[in-house]
């Protein structure tokens, strides 16, 4: 699905009733550990076939949210539906586990089994698993089938984890920081795999702190901080970064005071910086002024805040007051 189309079709709020239920709807989710409120008010939706990234600093509530969706933790309040079922309902647990796959943050595999045995063992738990050999090769472990798990490298173990998440042929896949510890090539490979899965109709919810990963993979990003949603949208438009606050920067010409420029600017990192919502006009005024005076604006660039800039700005400024500092984990 194209990101723009996704946006256009987005329901106004999570929990909007539809005939075809969303893969995930979360409304007003709350969860505390003792005095620490890990998740204070989280609402978002994931439509079938979408890749959504939960993004946020440590302690933002990403993993707690994910664990509630996975059925590992009970919520204190709010409504959650996963594939139309309530993960807090014990009676739905078996069906949900049959239809979802997950890759946890920590590598968890038995050391003395081979790669093939590990995958075949897990395959035996599902009603209609994918083929063992197929999943091993999808995860990039072809040729290592007979290797003992203990002799695999860290990255290979993570890929085995990924294979275990896929073997049940899930409709919905949770990936908790899936490429942590991957080298760049392996990471690209994992991204290609995730895109291929989505092309095959799998819905994917992943957590990451990696901006590049969110940018490369996600149709939409849900930015969490201190247990609440700060921003939500396609990565290109997150925090309105596609619409506002372009940044014009250049070296201040010798003999020109900051106040002498035709547009208001500030000094930042040794450069004059103009932050503006209408870069076309501002740039025209600036360059017109410079041409008239035969001044060279060296190092002139126009850019928009990167996803990382937006992330840092939002997580720094957008902290709800009285937010908990400590991560529950």
């Amino acid at each position: 699905m194209h990101p723009e189309l996704t946006v256009a079709a987005a329901p106004a709020a999570a929990g909007v009733t539809q005939r075809q239920p969303d893969a995930i709807t979360v409304t007003g989710l709350r969860k505390g550990y003792g005095s620490v409120q890990a998740v204070r008010d989280v609402s978002f939706g994931v439509r079938s076939g979408e890749i959504v990234a939960l993004l946020g600093p440590n302690g933002a509530g990403k993993t707690t949210t994910l664990e509630i969706l996975e059925g590992f933790r009970a919520r204190d309040g709010g409504a959650v539906a996963v594939l139309g079922l309530d993960p807090g309902d014990k009676a739905a647990a078996r069906e949900l586990r049959e239809r979802t796959g997950l890759v946890l943050q920590d590598t968890a595999v038995e050391p003395y089994l081979t790669v093939r045995e590990t995958v075949a063992r897990q395959a035996g738990y599902y009603q209609a698993p994918r083929g063992v050999a197929e999943v091993i090769s999808l995860a990039g472990l072809a040729g290592l089938e007979r290797r003992k798990v203990r002799s695999l490298s860290g990255g290979q173990k993570r890929r085995l984890d990924l294979a275990l998440g896929l073997i049940g042929d899930p409709e919905l896949l949770y990936l908790d920081e899936p490429t942590t510890g991957f080298d760049p090539a392996a990471r690209r490979g994992a991204w290609d795999l995730v895109r291929a899965l989505r092309a095959g109709g799998t819905t994917i919810l992943l957590t990451t702190h990696d901006m590049a990963e969110a940018q490369a993979l996600a149709d939409r990003v849900v930015l969490l901080s201190n247990g609440a949603v700060l921003a939500e949208g396609p990565p290109a438009g997150l925090g309105g970064r596609d619409k506002e606050r372009a940044r014009i920067s250049f070296t201040l010409p010798p003999g020109v005071p900051l106040a002498g420029l035709p547009v208001p600017a500030v000094m930042r990192g040794g450069a004059a910086v103009i932050e503006t919502a209408s870069p076309t006009g501002e740039l025209h005024r600036l360059t017109g002024w410079a041409l008239q005076r035969d001044i060279t604006l060296s190092g002139l660039t126009v850019d928009r805040p990167s996803l990382e800039d937006v992330y840092l700005r939002l997580t720094r400024d957008g902290v709800p007051s009285g937010a908990a500092e400590r991560s529950p984990r």
Partner: protein
Amino acid sequence: MTAATLAGPRPRRRGRLGLVIHQVRYEQLSFWRNPQSAIFTFVFPVVFVALMGALFGTVGRSAYFGGLSALQYYVPTIAALCVLGSCYGQLAVALAARRQNGILKRVRATPLPAWAYFAGLLAHCVLVSLADIALIVGVGRLYGVPFPSQWPAIALTLVLGAASFCALGVAVASVISNAEAAPAVAQLVLFPLLFLSGTYMPIHSELLSQVTGWLPVRPFNEALTGPLARHAGTDWRHLAVLAGWGVIGALVAVRRFRWDPRPE
């Protein structure tokens, strides 16, 4: 769902028995490939019985060993020790470790029912115990201990003992929160109890025997000594005490067992 899975007829899920056998198969593979578990479970008891045989093999029946020869005394107690090691000790340590490194959580995320996971573990432990006992009885035979004749009593005692000690092992793994502490805690409880229950040497204190008679180890020793060394039948009274401990262990395990390494 991919097109491929929708195209063919859906493979049927394994039956309950099939699922347990599937579990046992991989538990066994894991177990036998781990040199540590294989050595501790097999080499130690065999060496112990062989040593006792070398030391006391020529000494006949004596009042010190309750009217049995030394080897007749040690074959059942070491057999009991093996069942303890492969059920209680093994499970307490392995489950605490599996929880800590997230393997249990991963199992919990699959449709495998909890009962099938534990049934697989129990069957695995019974198999290991069986192999252990066969080995010990075999070594005992080399030193002149006659083969036992009461096989049904031995089988019943073994299965009940294994189940009870598995339940206690899971209970200990449920109560311990970190894997590093598991071996120490498991052994700390067990080791004095083994001594006091007469596993390593006969206990002639009436009071001590009374007390340990209500704890789990001694009843199991007694229940195995009857059919293994005295050609006696099933020792119902001691098995009842053992089963009581099994129930206690199972209750603690059911109430306290956690799949997730992090506390709620």
